[in-house]
């Protein structure tokens, strides 16, 4: 019996060692894992998705904001009558029975059926209390003015991770600012999973997106979209664009292009429609570039308004190319005022030759031609100027009347605004201020890009352009009582090394009132069919809109 005592003692020691070993395993070896497991049971991380910032027009109206929408999902395990549920959802959501049935697999617990359901529909379906059917709340972009300013604002799509991302326009350019920062809050729960109030932490590391204020005037934007739509139809054009800018600040007052798309249903449109042609499309500006070239020659002191053109008696031949005027009419000893008035190509060849290649490149660069304007919109492009070595005599001559050189409409609008702003070139901008999630508003400063010409030259050029409106080929469309400075442009379209004789890009650029310009506007029609000339198409559209703008701004006639 003596062995019993040592036996029991050994067993007890072994058991003790076993318990110590086990305790060591759980409390030392697996300590971290168990702590993590415990934390996950009583601590809950709540992900806080930031609300995307709004985009507001100059009157404070949110042209882009957020709305509540719902995702309808089904838990197949909780569905009581599968056939009846499919039948109901099919009729309520306008989906085929087969598409719903294929998703309701019994091994799944969460099947998304349809997203983008509005509150009214959600109430209707939710009221039926269909077993297994639930909703998830989401915020999606909402456009109170529908597709107004679509090219300017862009749209919100999804990135590779399925998260919201802004594309093109303002949404693309200011995506990081608008998106905000994702945050989270921690919540401690009791054994039954109920939150413990004393241990709750506030949201950390996140903030809602900033809201943007635009210089865009909602009423004017609406007006030009209507006028553009009417103009494209009336003149049988392929498309068109209108841009209006404040010459003193560079603020974009309105910008529209046709055809356009609806940002709320962007996926229904061809991707080529997403880009804003006013900042992405390059074209040969034709006669609308003439004032820029002439201003350079005036500023350099090479010509005066009274300088007579000694080559304007007929067509000129340069490097084997015959150059004509648009109507084959020639004016002997015409002066520079009349060159712009008649939109005389030969007169502009004379000016270009006076200027020379080096000064031509220098002035074009000073006016911002061949460079990005720096407008705060995603997708801007620019066609660089040819290198100095690639300029031949004929290039110099054709650039004088706006052919053989490509610009974007925003480049031209920005450069032309210089005349209306005492010779100062402003950087065009869309956003004038932003407001952070704490309600603090920060104004964006305006930027002078350069002073390409003197104030005196700007004034002289303004008078030459006012004369062109008064006496030029578009005089029939001018406004009575108002002084407007402007220029038509009927540009040929290069096709496979030649110019298409049957189609043009018709445009009109100008500003008003001459003495204190309130706006600069560029109207472009692509391949109008009723007439290929800008004087018959783009010019009347310009004056039609200008009349409404002057009335809107409350500017009385000066004459």
């Amino acid at each position: 019996m003596k062995w019993r005592y040592p036996f029991v003692f050994t067993i007890l020691v072994l058991l003790f060692v076993l318990i110590i070993g086990r305790l060591y395993y759980w409390q030392i070896v697996k300590a971290e894992m168990l702590s993590e497991l415990a934390r996950s049971q009583y601590k809950g991380f709540i992900k806080v998705i930031p609300k995307r910032g709004e985009i507001k027009t100059s009157d404070g109206f949110p042209i882009v904001t957020n709305k509540v929408s719902y995702l309808l999902y089904v838990n197949p395990a909780e569905v009581k009558n599968k056939d009846q549920t499919i039948q109901l959802l099919s009729s309520l959501l306008d989906l085929t029975k087969a598409s719903i049935s294929a998703q309701l697999l019994p091994d799944k617990f969460w099947v998304p059926i349809k997203s983008g359901i509005d509150a009214k529909k959600k109430e209707e379906i939710g009221g039926m209390q269909i077993p297994g059917v639930g909703f998830e709340e989401h915020f999606t972009r909402f456009y109170p003015e529908a597709s107004v300013a679509a090219h300017l604002v862009g749209f919100v799509g999804k990135n590779e991770a399925g998260e919201d991302k802004g594309y093109v326009g303002i949404e693309g350019f200011y995506d990081r600012l608008l998106r905000g920062k994702e945050g989270y809050s921690i919540e401690l729960k009791d054994a039954l999973g109920r939150p413990i109030i004393s241990e709750r932490t506030s949201m950390t590391g996140g903030s809602d997106g900033d809201s943007l204020f635009l210089g865009l005037d909602r009423s004017i934007q609406f007006l030009i979209e209507q006028r553009l739509k009417d103009g494209v139809e009336r003149y049988g054009a392929l498309g068109g664009m209108i841009g209006i800018m404040n010459p003193q600040t560079g603020d974009i007052i309105a910008m529209a292009s046709s055809p356009t798309f609806a940002p709320q249903k962007y996926w229904e449109y061809d991707e080529s429609l997403y880009k804003n042609p006013f900042i992405t499309n390059t074209y040969e500006p034709g006669s609308t570039l003439k004032p820029i070239i002439m201003a350079g020659a005036l500023d350099a002191g090479l010509i005066t308004p009274q300088t007579k053109c000694n080559i304007c008696v007929g067509p000129v031949t340069i490097s084997g190319y015959d150059l004509h005027t648009w109507d084959d009419k020639y004016y002997k000893d015409t002066n520079m005022i009349e060159v712009i008035q008649h939109s005389d190509n030969i007169g502009m060849v004379f000016v270009a030759q006076k200027l020379g290649v080096d000064r031509m490149i220098s002035y074009l660069t000073k006016f911002g031609i061949g460079e990005l304007t720096g407008i705060d919109l995603q997708g801007e492009t620019a066609a660089s100027l040819k290198p100095r070595s690639a300029w031949y005599a004929v290039d110099l001559a054709t650039t004088g009347f706006g052919q053989g050189i490509s610009v974007t409409p925003i480049e031209l609008l920005s450069a032309f605004s210089t005349f209306a702003n005492g010779g100062k070139l402003m950087q065009p901008r869309v956003v004038t201020a932003f407001e952070n999630s704490n309600g603090e508003v920060f104004k964006m400063p305006t930027k002078v890009k350069g002073i390409p010409i003197s104030e005196k030259t700007a004034k002289v050029m303004t008078e030459i352009l006012a004369n062109a409106v008064e006496k030029g080929e578009a005089k029939w469309a001018k406004l009575k009582g108002y002084r407007v400075a402007g220029k038509t442009g009927t540009a040929s379209i290069p096709v496979k090394g030649h110019y298409d004789p049957n189609s043009t890009i018709a445009s009109f650029i100008g500003f008003a009132p001459v003495d204190n310009p309130k706006f600069v506007m560029l109207v472009i029609l692509e391949k109008p069919t009723t007439s290929i000339y800008a004087a018959d198409t783009a010019a009347p559209m310009f004056f039609d809109i200008a009349r409404d703008l002057l009335s809107y701004y409350g500017i009385p006639p000066s004459e």
Binding site: F61, P62, T65, N66, K67, V68, A119, E137, F139, F142, P144, E145, A146, V148, K189, D190, R194, P195, I196, I197, S198, R200, R218, S219, F222, G481, R547, S551, P556, P557
Partner: protein, 94 residues
């Protein structure tokens, strides 16, 4: 001796009161999480309602909607401008 006895008793009593108070408070707070949860749900529901109402308000006040309603009511664009100029004072007339 008597004074220190009173202080000791007071401190002991205070400790017991505070401990009991803490226990009561913790118990109360531990169950109030349910009410907080409900209150939060209610706040979120009001927030959602606000967003839905603001959506309706913005739609109603949009130019797109106003113009449609104006057209339906028979309003048309006024093309002719009328300007009333004030005549200069007698003293400056030639």
């Amino acid at each position: 001796m008597k004074k220190s006895y009173i202080i000791m008793t007071f401190l002991l009593g205070l400790t017991i009161v505070l401990s009991v108070g803490r226990a009561v408070l913790s118990n109360t707070l531990s169950t109030s999480g349910i009410f907080v949860s409900k209150a939060e749900q209610e706040i979120n529901s009001y927030k959602t309602q606000n967003v839905i109402l603001s959506e309706k308000l913005l739609t109603a006040s949009s130019l797109t909607n106003i113009i449609e309603k104006a057209k339906a009511s028979g309003f048309t664009d006024e093309k002719a401008l009328m300007v009333i100029k004030t005549s200069g004072p007698l003293a400056v007339r030639p």
